[in-house]
């Protein structure tokens, strides 16, 4: 009456339904996590500010950052991808977002840290608008779960102004 195949089918179906329910519940509970993180960034030095051969402005700098991302982690968190974006506007572009630095935090214990690093990616403009430009630094994070919905957030940090003229290589 109950063959082995039927039993295997029932077990597999129930297991799949349970797994799906647990995954959904884990993701649902993530929504109740209200993070309160702290971060601070400071531009230590402009390493290079020049006009590239193809005509676009390029900036490389050294940043000093400290942040505490521990409140973003839940038990359903696999990793947190955090990056710092330079955001500014120009005459031709209503918004420019350029990632300067990113990092992957995989464990809650390592979520609070300080670094002093050169920018991972140069700030390159579409044009030559960066001289004297006021640029906002915004910290973005992306919580990637073990299963379920991914959550994004951001926090504006400090602003800084680029020099009025290109610097020579130092």
């Amino acid at each position: 009456m109950h063959s082995a195949v039927q039993r295997a089918n029932t077990v597999a179906t129930i297991a799949a339904i349970l797994l799906a329910t647990i995954c959904a519940a884990a993701s649902f509970l993530d929504a109740f996590n209200s993070p309160s993180l702290q971060a601070h960034v400071q531009v230590v030095k402009i390493n290079r500010f020049r006009r590239q051969l193809d005509g676009n402005d390029e900036v490389k700098m050294t940043l000093k950052m400290s942040m505490d991302l521990t409140s973003l982690f839940t038990w359903n968190t696999k990793q947190v991808f955090v990056f710092l974006a330079a955001e500014y506007e120009t005459d031709t572009n209503s918004l420019n977002q350029v990632s300067l630095w990113d990092h992957i935090v995989q464990e809650k214990e390592r979520a609070s840290f300080q670094v002093k690093v050169p920018t991972k990616y140069p700030l390159i403009d579409q044009g030559t608008n960066l001289r004297g430009k006021k640029v906002g630094l915004v910290l973005h994070w992306h919580i990637m779960p073990i299963s379920g919905r991914m959550i994004q957030g951001k926090m504006p940090l400090s602003n800084f102004s680029l020099p009025d003229s290109y610097t020579t290589r130092s």
């Binding site: 991808f81 990056f83 977002q97 990632s99 990616y121 973005h140 992306h142 299963s147 994004q152 951001k154």
Partner: protein, 176 residues
């Protein structure tokens, strides 16, 4: 009299019912798929991760749920895009976004988390940026491992045929 059966129409009705059942199952699956396409606004609301370029976040065989709306693409979002001439969609993160004031069009540069360089060499020809029309969808959700079956079926088609054969056999020979 009831026992007299013509050889030609033996078991026609049960067979037709079986075929109808099969058709219903296929149609329901199709309806769910098309419904998902409408709700999420993407042509393929679910994709399987094929490469390790987004590790350790996404591994080969994971499934991504996509969503697409008119909201402008912003830095940090994980997007799926097609490059002209290649039919494998690529899942990477936006690291640069420039939105034009006049047209509202956005120039996008993407990069895989696990890659050293950005995707500019992947874009077709001399293309420097992606635009909104290249983007199929944004990744909003994620399930690990589930897609590995699809990868196996694509890379070893014999498994696919075997599976379909077994399933068809089960449906036809089952009593309900």
């Amino acid at each position: 009299m009831d026992r007299i059966k013509f050889l030609g129409d033996v078991k026609i009705r049960p067979t037709l019912i079986q075929l109808l059942n099969l058709g219903m199952i296929i149609c329901s699956a199709l309806m769910i798929w098309k419904g998902l396409m409408c709700i999420t606004g993407c042509e393929s609301p679910v994709v399987v991760v094929l490469t390790g370029s987004m590790e350790p976040g996404f591994k080969r065989g994971d499934i991504l749920f996509l969503h697409m709306n008119k909201e402008p693409i912003r830095a940090g979002e994980i997007v799926v895009y097609n490059v002209d001439g290649r039919d494998i969609p690529i899942v990477h993160r936006v690291i640069k976004a420039h939105e034009r004031r006049d047209t509202g069009e956005i120039d996008i540069l993407t990069k895989g988390d696990n890659n050293q360089v950005d995707d500019i060499s992947l874009y077709s020809g001399g293309q420097l940026w992606l635009n909104s029309h290249h983007i199929i969808g944004r990744a909003i959700g994620y399930l690990p491992y589930v897609g590995y079956l699809t990868i196996i079926m694509t890379e070893m088609p014999i498994v696919k045929y075997l599976l379909i054969g077994v399933l068809a056999l089960l449906v036809i020979t089952s009593e309900e």
